[in-house]
């Protein structure tokens, strides 16, 4: 899964990378605005967002689907001075920016920051409207790839992406298969007031932070076998899941605040929201996290109760889960949800095995 990036003191750079870096630094330093320059990708936590997750492009998408590419691009160009409305990932991006501001204040020379990259396969002419919209909301996004139809997967790797958010589940699946943490974003049905001082990220456990090994047992042998199994293997760490490295990246940034005595005022808070119950299967999860050296701020064991109401209280900027059932429940009650298409959960819908159509070649 996507490897954690090296620590800052490691002397590794080659000269071409340094040259590009120095030139950009010089450029940004020469700008008259107070614009913060983007961090060095090697040390940053890189979040790639698609245009449709950053902005609400539902209307425009309809034009593309009903009238074709040429009409769609023409429409976007015609309206390029009109900013787009915020999309599902917008609050998450604003929260990342808040964390960056706090990090820059405490560590002015550090490159360990969030780096937000716009990764879209939109045509570059549509890009003008996207850039204008980014400027309208004053978002700190300096890097982008507008691939004009090509798959973004190669670019995700080239940018050392730590997390990729898109509306396109095929691209997300491809990214996960390539070892990049990724999720398909869903706009909630109602709007929720979210914190503007703290980034709040909620994760499901199995098949998100952890592998789907235990979920396989539930699906194939039922809950009782699952409980027995988890008790028996309580001390054996679960294998890691697609979002483990992202949690790790968040933990690393959290520790920077702890190091400056800001634990009580940390602008990043993480939540585990699992259907597991604390008594019968929760221990293994906590022990696994400990064995990985990872902390999670709050662990909520629901013992099968619906996640929606609890998430309403937590108000995360993003909630990751592998099962669409939970995503739908969360979305209905106003939580911004992101589906992680990984593991055995993809073959089931509400506990029943889905008849899989032949995979497209």
């Amino acid at each position: 899964m996507s490897e954690i990036k090296p620590i800052e003191s490691a002397p590794t750079e080659d000269s071409a990378e340094e040259t590009d870096w120095a030139a950009a630094k010089a450029f940004f330093d020469s700008l008259k605005t107070e614009k913060p320059r983007p961090p060095k990708p090697r040390y940053a936590v890189t979040i790639a967002v698609s245009s449709r997750t950053l902005f609400n492009m539902v209307e425009e998408r309809k034009i593309y689907e009903e009238e074709g590419l040429e009409k769609y691009v023409a429409h976007q160009v015609e309206h390029e001075s009109e900013p787009l409305k915020p999309g599902a990932a917008f609050p998450f991006v604003k929260a990342l920016m808040t964390v960056n501001t706090r990090l820059r204040a405490l560590y002015p020379d550090s490159e360990e920051l969030f780096d937000i990259v716009l990764m879209t396969n939109n045509h570059a002419q549509v890009g003008v409207r996207l850039i204008n919209s980014i400027n309208h909301y004053d978002l700190t996004i300096e890097r982008f790839c507008m691939t004009g139809g090509k798959s973004p997967i190669g670019y995700l790797k080239a940018y050392m992406t730590n997390l990729y958010l898109s509306k396109d589940s095929e691209k997300v699946t491809e990214a996960i298969e390539e070892g990049i943490a990724a999720a398909t974003m869903f706009m909630p049905d109602t709007e929720t007031q979210l914190s503007d001082t703290q980034l709040r990220v909620a994760f499901d456990g199995d098949a998100v932070l952890f592998s789907d090994e235990s979920e396989i047992i539930v699906k194939k042998h039922g809950l009782d076998t699952f409980f027995q199994h988890e008790k028996q293997f309580e001390n054996k760490p679960l294998a890691q899941g697609p979002l483990k490295c992202f949690l790790e990246a968040l933990g690393k940034l959290q520790r920077k605040f702890y190091a400056k005595n800001e634990r009580m005022n940390c602008p990043i808070r993480t939540f585990l929201v699992t259907a597991r119950s604390a008594a019968s299967s929760g221990a293994r999860v906590l022990k696994t996290l400990r064995s990985w050296g990872l902390e999670i701020d709050e662990a909520l064991f629901l013992a099968g109760a619906p996640k929606g109401p609890l998430l309403q209280k937590i108000r995360p900027h993003i909630f990751f889960d592998d099962q669409m059932f939970h995503i739908e429940g969360a979305k209905e009650l106003g939580t911004i949800s992101a589906h992680v298409p990984y593991g055995i959960g993809q073959k089931y819908n509400r506990g029943k095995l889905i008849e899989q159509p032949e995979k497209k070649e």
């Binding site: 030139a23 950009a24 450029f27 040429e70 045509h123 890009g127 003008v128 890097r143 982008f144 507008m146």
Partner: protein
């Protein structure tokens, strides 16, 4: 004294409407003895010529009288190559290369020949040749024979913006005036094809500038007639991992930022 000879095997193009591209003989052929058929240096030039030829054919399919075409000139840039004129002509015909004209010049006068032949784009892998041409107002782009092989179904032209200009990296970047004529006609060729699955693709890369400088270049190119298809703003991110994915056939370096403004 430079001389220009038409290739009788290839249809001549309308000088007013064609996009005239010159490529040096060294990009196309290996050295050889006079009288021999010269071997092709590698696949690069042949593929490039084929792509342009295929586009010419497609343009003609729309309208048989179509004058908007790529017009390729093969130019020699040193006296040794200049002496090989008959070998070059016969080798071109032997390999079936779509070259309309040959221009036999040497180090002293090749730039003048580019000008008299109204060359709008000069392709070479020799940095010094490219610099000399640019200094006299002929837009140049560097070919790289080592680059990962670009696709053979799409001509990918990259416009690249760097903040730093290293003295040994080739011609000075083109400003807006320098690309004007070339851009207008090339842009028109692009517009004859659809947005998706086009045989011609324009890429813009901003290596060091901000997204706003990239957006500004996008708009400048647009007003010059070129609607960029793909745009990448690296803002200092290392370019080595990204460049192999872009697969350009050649790169035109640009610099549109006017520091006085």
């Amino acid at each position: 004294m430079a001389s220009t000879i038409e290739n009788t095997d290839v249809k001549q193009k309308d000088p007013d409407r064609a996009v005239v591209v010159a490529v040096t003989s060294r990009e196309v052929f290996e050295d050889g003895a006079e009288g021999d058929i010269l071997a092709l240096r590698d696949d690069m030039a042949r593929k490039l010529l084929m792509l342009m030829h295929e586009m010419n054919e497609r343009l003609q399919q729309e309208s048989a009288k179509e004058l908007l075409q790529f017009d390729v000139v093969l130019i020699t840039t040193d006296s040794q190559q200049q002496q090989q004129s008959s070998s070059i002509i016969s080798s071109t015909k032997h390999h079936g290369l779509e070259i309309s004209r040959f221009c036999f010049a040497n180090e002293e006068d090749f730039v003048e020949s580019l000008q008299t032949n109204n060359v709008q784009l000069f392709l070479t892998s020799d940095k010094s040749e490219a610099s000399q041409a640019t200094q006299k107002g002929v837009l140049s782009a560097l070919l790289d024979h080592q680059e990962a092989s670009p696709p053979s179904d799409q001509l990918r032209i990259m416009f690249c913006e760097d903040a730093i200009i290293q003295p040994d990296t080739g011609p000075t970047p083109a400003n807006r005036e320098a690309i004007q004529g070339f851009a207008a006609q090339l842009g028109e060729i692009r517009r004859r094809f659809s947005l998706a699955d086009s045989p011609l693709c324009f890429i813009l890369v901003t290596a060091h500038g901000s997204k706003d400088s990239c957006a500004s270049s996008l708009l400048t190119l647009r007003s010059s007639g070129i609607s960029v298809d793909e745009a990448y703003c690296l803002a200092g991110a290392p370019r080595d991992p990204i460049m192999p994915l872009l697969q350009p056939h050649f790169t035109i370096r640009i610099s549109f930022s006017d520091l006085e403004e």
